[in-house]
Amino acid sequence: MTRDWWKHLLLILGVIVVIAPFYMMVSYSFKSPGEIDRGEGGFFGRQELMVDERCVVRRDPSRADITAAAPRFPGQNDRDIRDALVAEAETDCSMRPVVFNYTMAFTEAPLLRYLMNGIIVTASIFLIQVVVALPAAYALAKLKFWGRDAVFALVLFCLLIPVHAIALPLYILLAKLGLTNTYAALVVPWTISVFGIFLMRQFFMTVPDDLIDAARMDGMSEFAIVWRVMLPTAIPALLAFAIFSIVAHWNDYFWPRIVVTGNRDLFTPPLGLREFKGGGDGSFFGPMMATATVIVTPLIVAFMLAQRRFIEGITLSGMK
């Protein structure tokens, strides 16, 4: 420990740089606009009550409101009633900055909808990837058929192609099919994971043939073998692949940016955040950082809970 002090010093410097934007993101999501502007309030901000100006403006009393409120303020003129109403609105609209920021994050834009979309898209992508890749991987690993080597060579070749790189022709194909601005557009290009096939094939190669022969002796068809014998044995590898796939697609921004234009109902979390940024003015730093925090948190929390599996999953591609 004492001899290693310089190592810790270096690593802690690194930690500061790595943590800084996370710290700032979470901290700003707690603070009032004034505190952000002046750069004060420490990590949590002072959490003084603040007035949401937009809320006050929204409740600006109309003629009718004043008339309606007149009985509550007997003997006062309209002007006083109006002032009283504004004061009331200000009290109602004042809240702690943290509450303000997170409320705004969820009300200013349909953040819940975005999160739902994120879940729908990542889950569908993963499920379809498994449904397509698992049988193919099994056939490539365990069945002998003419053309197997050619198919596997094709898989190896396709591993060279990053899907982002061919985004443009894919976009044209989808546009021609009239599929842009649909869930399908978000999911379809990712339905085939050659990496998944490759990975599962390598895994299946290690499964003893005896297990499959035993299943055949029990009268199982090849399809039953895939789902009832191979799938259960592949759970650890599949879990790692799930993490790899989900992290990649939850965080993906490029592809949704291309195929979803304008239709907010289809926005994935990163797209939603992007729009928030585009539409907001300076006073929206707090809510925006709250949105960012909400979007980043699920994966980070999951990662903290199952670090080993996550690191395994993300670095899967390093396995040979």
Partner: protein, 326 residues
């Protein structure tokens, strides 16, 4: 079961044949969906892009003209695209070595520690997990010229000795500190920095995995053989053992670096940064092909991009098979 039981020989043959046919049919049905999708989603688009790169096609137009190599010609003559290549290569050449170096350094440091290993590992891995777009926005605030944390921190150095020994500080304190994202001198380096920030934890984890594969007795052997310094042991044992990891880490870092997009689109939705200094290829494909509907030129950039990436991966495979394979 056996022939001795009197089962006619032909029946056995017939049975195996039918079994083979069944197995073959099953195999094709099982691989069928994957095959079709591979062709439609991965191979066809390459073909489409390569064809379209010779046209002036636009979405919505009924027809198009073949323009030969004109798109490619533009790509290699116009200054915009020169800037594109410069920005992309600057980014790749900066980010790859530094993020690989930092990843290796962090892995070696962490691996040599007895305590807190997991803590460092977890923290350094956070940026890999986090949504890059969200973090880009966080960085944008950090880099804000007046209220950003970075310039505020720099301002704290004003009036100290730093001002005297570092002209950058002196200039900053006298006038103002850089408008990081708005200055073409800084923009690409800021983007590279964020790329390194995001990626080195990934490399670190791969290196840590590689280090667990180094046999401990090799270090003892090196010690017995007279390797006195940590550097000698690194040269003799660690570095060669990490050869395959390094090849992989470099390749994957390259491919990821080529694909940089999120940060640039978040910072400069239009035009690719101050004076197009961060106009990288993925952004160019997006801007030309999708936003401006210039499919031809977008496809040409796609083809060049694919060529880069595939070339890199092929080099990697070759290296893995030839050189670092013991």
């Amino acid at each position: 079961m056996s022939l001795a039981d009197g089962v006619p020989h032909e029946a056995v043959v017939e049975k195996t044949v039918s079994h083979n046919v069944k197995e073959r049919r099953a195999a094709w049905i099982l691989t069928g969906p994957a095959l079709i999708l591979m062709v439609v989603i991965l191979l066809a688009p390459i073909l489409v892009a390569s064809l379209l790169s010779f046209t002036n096609y636009s979405l919505g137009n009924s027809g198009f003209d073949w323009v030969g190599f004109r798109n490619y010609e533009k790509l290699f003559t116009r200054s915009t695209y020169a800037k594109m290549f410069v920005a992309t290569l600057t980014y790749v050449v900066t980010v790859v070595p530094i993020s690989v170096g930092l990843g290796l350094g962090a892995a070696l440091l962490i691996n040599s520690l007895g305590r807190f290993r997991e803590v460092y590992k977890t923290i350094y891995f956070l940026p890999v997990m986090a949504t890059l777009l969200a973090m880009a926005i966080a960085w944008e605030f950090m880099l804000h010229p007046s209220i950003g944390m970075i310039n505020r921190t720099l301002e704290m150095g004003c009036g100290t000795f730093l001002e005297r020994i570092w002209s950058f500080m002196a200039n900053g304190c006298a006038g103002h500190f850089p408008v990081w994202l708005g200055d073409k001198r800084y923009a690409i380096w800021v983007i590279s920095f964020i790329g390194i920030w995001q990626g080195f934890g990934f490399n670190m984890v791969l290196y840590l995995a590689g280090l667990t594969g180094v046999h401990r007795e090799l270090y003892h052997a090196a010690e017995m053989d007279g390797a006195r310094s940590a550097w000698e042991r690194f040269r003799l044992v660690t570095w060669p053992a990490l050869g395959p990891t390094t090849v992989f880490v470099v390749t994957i870092s390259c491919i990821r670096a080529f694909q940089v997009f999120d940060t640039i689109e978040a910072f400069w939705p239009q035009g690719g940064g101050p004076n197009k200094s961060t106009y990288v290829m993925m952004f160019a494909i997006f801007e030309k092909g999708v936003q401006q509907n210039l499919i031809g030129i977008g496809s040409a950039i796609t083809m060049v991009f694919l060529a880069f990436v595939m070339f890199l991966t092929l080099i990697q495979r070759w290296l893995v098979e030839r050189k670092v394979h013991y």
